[in-house]
């Protein structure tokens, strides 16, 4: 693993990638630019939760980075062993519910332009958002009260429903926000 990381990540690898990425983004249309930045941030966030257990198995400096990664995500998730997925025998940085929320969120962002288009201003009904949030809440609360035990499947379904839906509200908002900032700066 250590050897593979050294081959694929030479010292200037990050810098070259960032430079090429910035060049690519600058050429895009404004709405697409905003979307790509939104997608990139989410991609890095989601990738990091799955990379942390890989770093643990790489050992050395990577393991130290992973330790801080676990600590970083600790304030967003309980990270309980019996409620988490494992990669290479190491725990994913967040629990199974959070992992599916983030993964579905990323999937939603990737599919959004194909399903709605970036110039879309229409939002799904707020009631759908509230319904999905309620399902997630009930799945957790009923389990905590000992009324209905939740499972990996129930956590994955309720998590992915809300995760997939959120970009349909947040992308139009982010595009509008970026346009407002752009207008303000260009005045």
């Amino acid at each position: 693993m250590k050897y593979l990381l050294k081959i694929y990540f030479p010292p200037d690898f990050g810098f070259i990638i960032v430079l090429k990425y910035v060049k690519f983004v600058l050429k895009l249309k404004f709405n697409l630019k905003t979307y790509i930045i939104f997608l990139s941030v989410t991609f890095i966030w989601t990738l990091s939760i799955y990379l942390i257990p890989v770093f643990v198995s790489a050992g050395g400096v990577w393991e130290k980075i992973a330790d801080y990664g676990y600590l970083f995500f600790a304030s967003t998730c309980h990270q309980l062993d019996d409620r988490s997925f494992f990669i290479f025998g190491n725990k994913v940085a967040v629990c199974s519910r959070c992992a599916t929320v983030y993964s579905a969120f990323l999937t939603g962002i990737i599919l959004y332009p194909l399903l709605r288009g970036l110039d879309n201003k229409k939002l799904p009904s707020v009631w759908i958002l509230l319904l999905f949030a309620l399902l997630l809440f009930l799945d957790a609360v009923l389990d905590a009260l000992g009324i209905l035990k939740n499972t990996f499947i129930s956590r994955a379904i309720t998590g992915s429903l809300i995760g997939f839906l959120l970009p349909f509200y947040l992308i139009p908002g982010t595009v509008n926000f970026a346009n407002e900032i752009y207008d303000k700066l260009s005045k």
Binding site: F72, I162, L170, K184
Partner: protein, 174 residues
């Protein structure tokens, strides 16, 4: 949005800050934050709803940049308060969470690699010496400074999108 002196921009930030902080520091209630940082998102939503209430009374529209700013500022203030509160709680409780966690893990601690054990020992010694771990406190503060404003902004953006969409629908119906 038009400039108006009667708009209080601090009040929504305080509302957002209060909701985020109270949810994060109250035992049992803080478990809301285990769901995609829902407590922090709710703080951003509360701040924007409070701001929109003022704007509606003055017949003004809500801008996305104001909403996001409310979410970020509430998040920054809350991250400082929550990090400070955590350090104070640890100092007054006189507990060493590191050694307690290792005790709870039982044999698991013995299986940790020597490097990790060394780091854990260092943190544990800091707890014994100062009543809290400066290293852990600094790192938690930095991560809170990233997470709180980020999720606060997400909540604020979500609220602003829904509010503006609702207003647009109402206008087209009229």
């Amino acid at each position: 949005m038009e400039k108006n002196v009667s708009i209080n921009r601090l009040l929504p930030v305080i509302w957002g800050f209060l909701v985020m902080t109270l949810i994060s520091v109250t035992p049992l209630i803080n478990f809301i934050n285990w769901f995609f940082c829902a407590g922090i998102i709710l703080g951003g939503v509360a701040g924007v709803f409070s701001f929109n209430k003022q704007l509606t009374a003055l017949n003004l529209s809500l801008s996305f940049k104001d909403a996001v700013l409310i979410g970020i500022l509430s998040g920054v203030l809350s991250s400082i308060a929550v990090s400070g509160f955590n350090v104070l709680t640890l100092m007054y409780s006189q507990a060493n969470p590191i050694s307690e966690s290792l005790k709870m893990l039982g044999d698991y601690g013995k299986n940790l690699p020597p490097e990790v054990n060394k780091q854990i020992d260092n943190l544990s010694r800091e707890f014994d010496k100062y009543g809290y771990s400066p290293t852990l406190a600094i790192f938690t503060f930095i991560s809170n400074m990233l997470i709180y404003p980020l999720f606060g902004a997400v909540g604020a953006l979500l609220a602003a999108t829904i509010i503006n969409n609702k207003k647009k629908i109402n206008q087209t119906n009229v």
